[in-house]
Amino acid sequence: MAAVAKTIKVEIKRQSSPDAKAVTESFEIPYRPNMNITSLLGEIALNPKTITGADTTPITYDSNCLEEICGSCAMLINGKAMMACSALVDKLLGAHEHGQQPDLAKTITLAPLSKFPVVRDLAVDRSVLFENLKAVKAWVPIDGTYDLGAGPKQHPQIQEQRYPLSNCISCTICMEVCPQFNDATGFVGAATIAQAKLFNMDPAGSVLKEERLRALAGDGGIQECGFAQNCVQACPKGLPLTEAISDMGRDVFVQQVKDFFTR
């Protein structure tokens, strides 16, 4: 009995340039167990033919580490924002537990993140996050014209609180899923608020604390948060984002009151 070739059906929203019209192309890829979305896209690149056999170009997408640590491969997988490298094909096809068979009748859909300008295909321009991190000075100021010496000691208790926040991989998923992150509000998004908290808690970084808190009170700042809490649900690295927003909400408010009376 000739085995029927097992295939995975994929539909991909493509766009050849930032201003080009988006089109959807369908692909059928030979099934292998334990694939992830990046390896699926790699298969297409090996043999860039659509489901009808027509030649096409390989899909453009961002990826680098392939282990959910560089943050570059976020995209909409079956409509939801996920990391392509940690999104497992078998799971997406319904095989959630070991030994279950994936349902190959299902189609996987891929699309670029919806709230960022498309560069090409699944690659988007996420520089807004970089700009936001710059706006809140999400760094420790250690550059000087002379050797500043060793940094201050950091207590393990502080380290423990900071560590989860330091796991952010700048994937922008928290922004993509946020109902308040859009063109109308220009909301800064959870990642930047969490990073401001991370560096405010750093014994050396806290020197810029007031500037960060003031920055977050500007238009598009922390006040735009509507506490839908999608960020904390979707963050692939499990950052305590709602806690960070709540804490920073208080700190920004206190700073505004202080500034009102003392500046």
């Binding site: 807004v128 909301f187 598009g220 709540s246 208080r250």
Partner: protein
């Protein structure tokens, strides 16, 4: 073979704009919006529902309550400064907030996301209802501040229409929901309940409080519609005229304790 030349970096970013450090006053307005929902609007909502509960004791008791509220000093100024103006601000700014959000419960059907949507839906229901309610009960028909005796009757006539009754019940639930979830949001956003556990526990508190308030309001509706059918317009005359002054205390000279004349301690 390059399929497309890499795009040149644009000078102004397309898409969502970055944080506007130092620009605008939206932080102040947004925080005022959040606060105004609790003080004074939420406080007034509680007062209003508790006052309405007097309908349980009948038309006369309710009339007394309306009379008492309308005899507060500077009541018309209080009404505008602590009810109408904050309410108008909260409502209009709230609509503006609601229409700038991009709801996504269809893709991400999570509890918090539903809460976000429901806060906007209940807010708009409350706004439409309150606009209607303030017009029919406060600014048209018999003027209740001058004629508190008519209060029960006026509401009863309005609620005799089953459609309007349904609107009142829906609006009562929506308004209490909006208020209770609003307090929860306030605590979360102002950093009063940053921890997950704290937020969860406070969620139960808000849910219990909101449910209790809602029941009080619904009981008042029940009283008006079913408990006192065809309620008469009470005569306010036999009621004692407000507060009576106690008899002045005569102090015997040389006494330190007026209740024990003659004793010096």
């Amino acid at each position: 073979m390059a399929a497309a030349a890499p795009p040149a970096l644009p000078t102004k970013l397309k898409g969502v704009q970055p944080l506007r450090t130092g620009e605008g006053h939206s932080f102040l307005w947004r925080r005022l919006h959040s606060l105004s929902g609790i003080i004074p609007i939420g406080a007034f909502l509680v007062e209003h529902i508790v006052s309405n509960f007097e309908t349980w004791n009948g038309p006369l008791a309710y009339a007394q309550q309306v009379k008492f509220l309308n005899s507060l000093p500077l009541v018309r100024i209080l009404e505008w400064a602590f009810i109408f103006i904050p309410l108008a601000f909260h409502a209009l700014y709230g609509v503006w907030i609601a229409f700038r959000g991009r709801a996504s419960v269809n893709v991400y059907p999570w509890a918090g996301n539903w809460g976000y949507v429901m806060q906007r839906v209940t807010g708009i229901i409350a706004l439409l209802y309150i606009g209607y309610h303030v017009w029919t009960q406060r600014f048209s028909g018999v003027s209740l501040p001058e004629n508190p005796a008519y209060a029960f009757h006026k509401v009863q006539v309005e609620l005799s229409n089953p459609w309007i009754l349904a609107v009142y019940v829906i609006a009562m639930i929506a308004t209490c929901w909006h208020f209770a979830y609003g307090i929860w949001l306030f605590a979360a956003k102002w950093g009063i309940t940053p921890g997950n556990e704290a937020r969860k526990k406070f969620g139960y508190v808000c849910a219990a409080g909101g449910t209790a308030l809602c029941f009080l309001g619904l009981i008042a509706i029940y009283s008006v519609v079913w408990k006192y059918p065809n309620a008469p317009i009470p005569s306010m005359a036999p009621q004692p005229a407000g507060i009576t002054e106690p008899a002045p205390v005569v102090v015997t000279p040389g006494t330190t304790n007026p209740s024990q004349p003659g004793q010096v301690q």
